[in-house]
């Protein structure tokens, strides 16, 4: 009974809280297990700074992916866009263009790629799956074409560019080595802040959630669905290009396939985050938790010397388990 639900006793509200926080609790249990197994290394500041840096690229892609997933869409092309952005920047560096030119062109490619995705989805009316599957292949092909298939590395990549991934704010010393708060982490946090503000505090974000809930109702309530969708895809493309630059900086090279792994992990992170919300909507802070879960599992399981293939099976199982239990409990209420 609809009317009955308004009068839920507090006991049930408590259960609802528990259901929503299941993924968070699971995460804390994993952290506790890792801490017990690696008492001297896991729950330490250097290790967590280390994890934060490792997940920073995935985090940026996943935060950006959250924007389109709020509308119920997704973007499969983020990984190949990241590769393409890295290649474009590296080629310009090789041509001895200034750092800023390479970075701006790469980010511009992200916006244009997103514009193409947005036009296809919003105005041509192709489903996001097909449209972005198509552009995934196009961006990847372009990355191969521009780079001639080779890895651009070594002296072609300026030290200031690759140095970014290794610098940070000094925040103390550990074992007489300076402890840095990584620049990559700071960048990911800035992106997080911007996207949180955008999605949760602006009229734009509010309208995106309305589109995700009921696009037709949103349209009839005066939301310019097509335009906002187009912009969302552009922002996601921009995020993917940013992550591509971060990746290129971290590996001090650009390779036409290097971003490929980011897409599925990013979608997985958003899905993990969605289990935290009552209505199963993506929120960027939930995505952050999803990214951390993936990163912490990688880090902790490596330290515990769990076979890398077992690790992948575990991660897949955890994603399915978390999403299943959250959707089951939603259905059973």
């Amino acid at each position: 009974m609809d009317a009955g639900r308004n009068l839920l006793p507090t006991r049930l509200k408590g259960n609802r809280w528990l259901r929503r926080s299941g993924t968070l609790i699971g995460f804390l249990i994993v952290v506790i297990i890792f801490t017990l197994n690696n008492p001297s290394t896991f729950l330490t500041l250097p290790n967590w700074l280390n994890i934060s840096q490792q997940v920073s690229m995935l985090a940026v892609v996943a935060f950006a992916m959250t924007i389109v997933m709020v509308m119920g869409d997704f973007d499969l092309s983020v990984g190949s866009m990241a590769s393409l952005a890295g290649i474009l920047a590296a080629l310009l560096f090789r041509a001895e263009q200034p750092l800023a030119v390479g970075i701006l062109v790469a980010l511009g490619a992200g916006l244009i790629g997103g514009l193409i995705n947005g036009l296809l989805v919003s105005y041509v009316g192709i489903t996001p799956f097909v449209a972005t599957l198509g552009t995934l292949t196009i961006f990847s092909g372009a990355a191969f074409l521009f780079s001639g298939g080779e890895t651009i590395f070594g002296r072609d990549i300026p030290a200031e560019f690759s140095g970014f991934a290794r610098t940070g704010l000094p925040i103390g010393t550990v074992n007489e080595r300076p402890l840095l708060f990584p620049a990559m982490t700071i960048l990911a946090l800035v992106v997080l802040g911007i996207i949180w503000l955008l999605l949760e505090q602006t009229t734009y974000g509010r309208r995106l959630y309305a589109i995700g809930g009921n696009a037709e109702a949103a349209r009839l309530a005066g939301v310019r669905v097509r335009l906002l969708r187009l912009i969302a895809f552009m922002l996601t493309g921009l995020g993917a290009a940013t992550a591509g630059l971060m990746y290129a900086s971290r590996v001090a090279s650009a390779n036409p396939t290097q971003g490929a792994g980011l897409m599925l992990d990013a979608i997985a992170a958003v899905f993990l985050g969605m289990t935290l919300s009552e209505e199963g909507e993506p929120h960027v802070l939930g995505t952050l938790l999803g990214v951390l879960i993936l990163g912490v599992l990688d880090n902790g399981l490596t330290q515990m010397q769990v076979d890398s293939y077992v690790r992948e099976i575990l991660i897949g199982g955890i994603i399915i388990g978390a999403v299943t239990s959250s959707s089951l409990s939603r259905r059973n209420r």
Binding site: S162, R250, Q258, V306, D307, S308, A322
Partner: protein, 311 residues
């Protein structure tokens, strides 16, 4: 409470993994993005076999093609405090990780990787020499004249340098024309896509004798090309196929006496063993001055293939 059972499963697996850590022997982490490839498997197995007698704990980590993840895993094992790290990836791409290891004073060894000032040493076959062996074999075999198809893979530096040597040798023979320089899609290991690409080349060059040889930078494309030639019924045109690495399938093909005539056997197990030896020397306090340690290779043809088939 379905989630609970997932957590319990994780817990159980973690405890199994955790048991290994209890020992006090030196721990060596072997990190590679390429474990799915046969060559890498032999190298790693060679390393593990050589390490068996030493009492080390060897932790093999595969990042399934993700190079940035290699950096992350290096950071993780540095944090864990391993005694030595062995990598099988281009060191220039993981420099960020090497710097972390170096700052922590943990030695890093290249195993068929590439040389880098941050590596103690790199143990490998001489890629230039291998490519020179097969390319000159082709040039000699077709009498310095003919039309050649090349299969290359420039994104991976060790394979890329093979292509460059072959380019040079073919270019030095004015009557050899490279009619196609193909980069196959290696997602499936390289055979299937190479076969498809070769079929296209065969279709474009239908006259018998219009293709003299196929030079492949590693064995899988050579095998794909062989399949395409046989499927097209053109195995009697005298097209010479050569590969590099001498993997078991390639050895079988050479032994069968068809178009696949030659490959170069890297001593993968030897590379692994030599790396283990280098690690042992450094752990014992010795300093290694050689930036690169080369392990010899052998050209495999119908004449000597029997020696390799036994392995």
């Amino acid at each position: 409470m379905r989630r609970l059972s997932v957590v319990l499963a994780v817990l159980a697996l973690l405890l199994i993994g955790g048991g290994v850590l209890a020992q006090d022997a030196p721990t060596v982490a072997v990190i590679t993005p390429y474990l799915a490839q046969p060559g890498t498997q032999f190298v790693v197995e060679g390393f593990q076999t050589a390490a068996e007698g030493t009492g080390w704990t060897v932790n093999v980590i595969d990042t399934a093609g993700d190079v940035a993840a290699v950096i992350s895993r290096i950071e993780d094992v540095v944090n864990q405090g391993v005694d030595a790290i062995v990598i099988n990836v281009d060191p220039a791409q993981v420099a960020a990780g090497l710097e972390v290891a170096s700052a922590a004073g943990i030695p890093v060894f290249g195993m068929d990787a590439g040389s880098d000032p941050l590596l103690v040493t790199n143990v490998t076959s001489n890629g230039y020499a291998m490519a020179a062996e097969t390319a000159t074999y082709v040039a000699d075999r077709i009498g310095g004249a003919g039309r050649v198809v090349m299969f290359v893979f420039d994104p991976f530096p060790p394979v890329q340098k093979r292509g460059i040597i072959a380019d040079t040798i073919f270019a030095n023979n004015p009557d050899i024309e490279v009619i196609d320089r193909i980069t196959p899609d290696v997602a499936d290991g390289g055979i299937a896509d190479s076969r498809a690409k070769m079929e296209a080349v065969l279709a474009a060059n239908p006259e018998p004798g219009s293709i003299s040889a196929v030079w492949a930078a590693w064995d899988q494309p050579a095998l794909g090309a062989l399949q395409a030639i046989e499927a097209a019924g053109r195995q009697n045109e005298g097209i010479v196929i050569v590969g590099i690495d001498a993997n078991p399938q390639a050895l079988d093909a050479i032994a069968a006496g068809g178009n696949f005539e030659a490959s170069v056997a890297q001593d993968f197990a030897g590379i692994g063993a030599a790396t283990a030896d280098a690690v042992a020397r450094v752990l014992a306090g010795e300093t290694i001055n050689q930036r690169v340690i080369y392990v010899p290779t052998v050209l495999v043809t119908g004449a000597n293939v029997a020696e390799f088939l036994g392995d």
